[in-house]
Symmetry: C2
DNA sequence: GCAGAATACGAGCGATCGCTCACATTGCCT
DNA sequence: AGGCAATGTGAGCGATCGCTCGTATTCTGC
């Protein structure tokens, strides 16, 4: 199966044991990113934390960058799970309730692993994996646009593409800023308040 | 004047020559950040690009971090110049025109040096100088809140602090995303369109 | 014009980084 | 049981990093 002479690292782990190794490496990377930051996340350190030799690391990840990209992908998949679920839930609701629920979901998504989310948001550009984020954003735009189309009767906007951009960007920025930069001032009351305001913002804009 | 034995670097350059050195270093740092990214911006490389010895660099900046912080401060000062100017211009205008002008100013601010702005936005967290950004954000919130207070008769919001957070965050995210991530699709027409939408968004929210 | 302060220089230190490779161990298949 | 593929190991290489320090040059005040 494997043809290459082990120089360019194998990508696929077929046995149970190696899958555990890959998982441990990704998990260790996430841990170190959260606890010590990007600069401390050297490949040697990650391997050590994972309880795996540095050689094994390079069997499965061609570079440090690839490791971080794997963490990003895993995290984004978790986020999209939340978003897709929420969109399915609210498909039939009127927009007022639907938007409120969607914005609540956005907050929840940011609370899945806020510290990791923050580190990734800050460090992703360095990985050269900006495409990943672009893809992620694009899927968000597309999903929300579809939502708007399904509620076209309640929306006065002529350009749904633009409207989706405005809504998604605003909601993401509000929840991101609130959860990641003002977590201190954000008890449950303030949080409900914020969801109210954000809902009001996009609802009035769309109608 | 200088007491320390040259170990902890001097902060103040008193002669003309040394001020030029400091400027060259900051300018070189900005250039390298824009052209080659954070990782390539080593202190040796910065000194070389500035036409200055590495020793001189450490006379004026105690660390690489301090150098980047200086670039950040300079850039933020330029941005705030634009923002403060716009706020002064629109103080007497009714909100509808005023907000439009302010949002246009936000776009202009992002266009001062978009590439540098992007690199800084992405890399700032690494410098440990997050406080700088926080201060910057806070000044923005405060200025806009003051603006809202002066137009209290046109604003229905009960909590101006929260309203300022919502507006500033949304405007900043919209202009930031548009200018830095969708510059391709952003001719003058699309730009005017975006300003329209953003104005509508915050105006309806506030009234 | 001269002394001392201010400024500039750059070889090079110690640390760390990403990563390779020669070799050892484990698991699968017949 | 034995052979080969899959997986695991870690010492260490070459590069680069941030930064120091002893020395050379330039400027200022008298």
């Amino acid at each position: 199966m494997a043809r290459k002479p082990l120089t360019s690292p194998r990508k696929y782990a077929s046995q149970e044991r190696s899958r555990a190794t890959v998982d441990a490496l990704i998990e260790a990377t996430a841990r170190i990113l959260v606890r010590e930051g990007f600069d401390k996340a050297s490949t040697n350190r990650i391997a050590e934390q994972a309880g795996v030799s540095i050689g094994s690391l390079y069997q499965y990840f061609p570079s440090k960058e690839a490791l971080v990209a794997a963490v990003i992908d895993r995290h984004h998949e978790e986020l999209m799970q939340v978003v897709r679920g929420a969109l399915a839930d609210v498909a039939a609701l009127p927009m007022k309730q639907g938007l409120r629920r969607l914005i609540t979901a956005a907050v929840e998504a940011h609370r899945v692993d806020p510290k990791l989310h923050r580190v990734l948001a800050e460090q992703i550009p360095r990985t050269g994996r900006l495409e990943h984020v672009e893809t992620f954003s694009r899927e968000n735009y597309a999903l929300f646009r579809k939502y708007l189309e399904e509620h076209r009767d309640e929306v006065r906007a002529p350009d749904l593409e633009l409207a989706a951009f405005v809504c998604v960007t605003s909601i993401e920025a509000l929840t991101h800023n609130a959860v990641l930069h003002h977590a201190d001032r954000l008890d449950d009351g303030a949080m409900a308040h914020l969801v109210d305001e954000a809902t009001r913002l996009v609802l009035r804009y769309l109608q």
